[in-house]
């Protein structure tokens, strides 16, 4: 096996989470249909950037200092992304996940129109311009019907490798109203990516609205726990046995304890959810994957080793840089302390197993 510097992913790695940013709503105007372009111009919405990040714009985490751009939000330039990331880490693929206000709109139709525009934009301005890029289909999450329309519109283009949702929507994600989305995704071999984030119909903390950014950020893991519990309990994976779910920017360390609790309680109340015939942990290990960055690593390496044991599967973690967010310096995109023998799985094998539209034949070292 070729040695590579610790912390740096091996060439051919698959970066499962990068964030191209829509530079401004004006940039989407050419990609909207006539009706919605006029709608947006009449309302003056093109003057809003409709940015949905829960980070304050100047928070350091929002953009690595050496990745900030002279103009426009971090991540809004393909050329800069190529210089900062693609030409340095040389991933075989990188999956673009656009987080945008389109995903949290109350109007289902405006949400769908903007999602269509974003998908058209990412296809024309990113996927068509760099063969290493793949993308998630952005959908209006509060209308399963319109979300399915958008999946059906784009599924023929195999550069779209996933359907993107946020962890906290109007309803818990497992509810049957959402099942048409899962059906369409499963039929087309598209995993469901669940990204950290909220439609803000409910507080990100289960206990109420937090006062501080710190609470908001840390509470995101509650949203992921609720999503996993909902998807499992409602029987989504029984109904759609081929469906994979990728938790993106979820952190990892909360999962084992959450699953212990789920298993333990299931034993006593199994009859309430009789479709769950195996321990929930087994279901989760088969169907759920997690991206690596930002990694909520425990303070010491032995603890990290223990955590990986508790996770109980070496197939669940997927490499991600979370570009342009600031989680590492230089090219050390892999958190320290991960065992060397896991690298190939995390960086190549697990992503390939998860994203059936990525083919290993395409993997070759891109010349610098």
């Amino acid at each position: 096996m070729v040695n590579f510097p610790a912390g740096r992913p091996p060439p051919g790695a698959i970066d499962c989470d990068i964030h191209p940013a829509v530079p401004s709503t004006r940039a989407l105007l050419p990609y909207l249909d006539d009706y919605w372009r006029e709608h947006i111009l009449r309302r003056g919405l093109e003057q809003e950037n409709l940015e949905a990040s829960s980070y304050p714009a100047n928070a350091a985490i929002n953009g690595r200092p050496d990745w900030r751009l002279p103009s426009g939000p971090p991540g809004s330039s393909l050329a800069a992304m190529q210089t900062h990331l693609l030409d340095r880490l040389r991933p075989s693929y990188a999956i673009c996940n656009v987080i945008h206000g389109a995903q949290v709109m109350l109007s289902e139709d405006l949400s769908a129109a903007l999602c269509r525009a974003i998908n058209n934009w990412i296809r024309a301005e990113w996927l068509d311009r760099d063969p290493r890029l793949r993308a998630s289909i952005v959908v209006p999450p509060h209308s399963a019907e319109l979300a399915v329309e958008e999946i059906e519109r784009l599924a023929h283009d195999r550069r779209f490798v996933q359907v993107l949702l946020l962890s906290m929507a109007e309803l818990p994600l497992g509810r049957r109203q959402n099942w048409p989305i899962y059906r369409a995704a499963a039929e087309h071999g598209l995993p469901i990516g669940i990204h950290a984030g909220s439609s803000f119909r409910h507080p990100p903390s289960a206990g109420g609205w937090p006062s501080y950014y710190l609470e908001d950020y840390v509470s995101q893991s509650q949203g992921f726990q609720a999503s996993v519990n909902s998807l499992v309990s409602e029987g989504v994976f029984v109904k759609f046995p081929d469906l994979k779910v990728v938790l993106i920017e979820s952190g990892v360390t909360w999962l084992p304890a959450s699953l212990w609790r789920l298993d333990k309680t299931w034993r006593g109340v199994r009859a309430e959810v009789p479709w769950l015939e195996e321990q929930p942990t087994e279901t989760v290990r088969r169907h759920v994957r997690l991206t690596l960055q930002p990694f909520d690593a425990p303070p010491a390496e032995p603890q990290l080793k223990k955590l990986l044991e508790q996770l109980g599967s070496d197939r669940m973690l997927l490499f991600s840089s979370d570009y342009p967010h600031w989680h590492y310096d230089g090219d050390d995109a892999l958190p320290s302390g991960l065992p060397a023998e896991l690298m190939q799985k995390i960086c190549v094998e697990n992503p390939l197993e998860t994203y059936s539209r990525l083919t290993p034949a395409d993997i070759k070292e891109t010349p610098r």
């Binding site: 029987g235 034993r267 006593g268 009859a271 009789p274 479709w275 015939e277």
Partner: protein, 137 residues
Amino acid sequence: MTRHVVASVAEIPSGGRKIVTVKGREIGIFRIGDDFHGLINRCPHQGAPLCTGEIVSRLVAPMPGDYRLTRPGEMIRCPWHCWEFDIRTGQSLCDPNSVQARAFDVAVEAGKTLVDGPFVAELVQVSVEETYVVVTL
């Protein structure tokens, strides 16, 4: 192994149970139709008196929402943590490969046969006209 007469057939109606003590072990004798089954009265989880729990059915769903009540009266639900066990085998539903309540060999014998022995009838007075539940232990 000794055969112990623990009840007359007539005293346990179908769907009923009787908890008996044989060689110091509490055993639940369950009647499902005309079949008798014996389970140790101790949940393998934390030692609860398993056989005093509710007798229930096996609720299944091949798909979410497709509810089916199967095997009515053939499961026992532990009174402490509601784990379910198959009365016929002692197998748990929540972890069938590693959590199991001990099941005992139970048979029905005519009183006439029992009179010929060998058997132990500490609990029951045997008469030749009746039939009896016999546990081998």
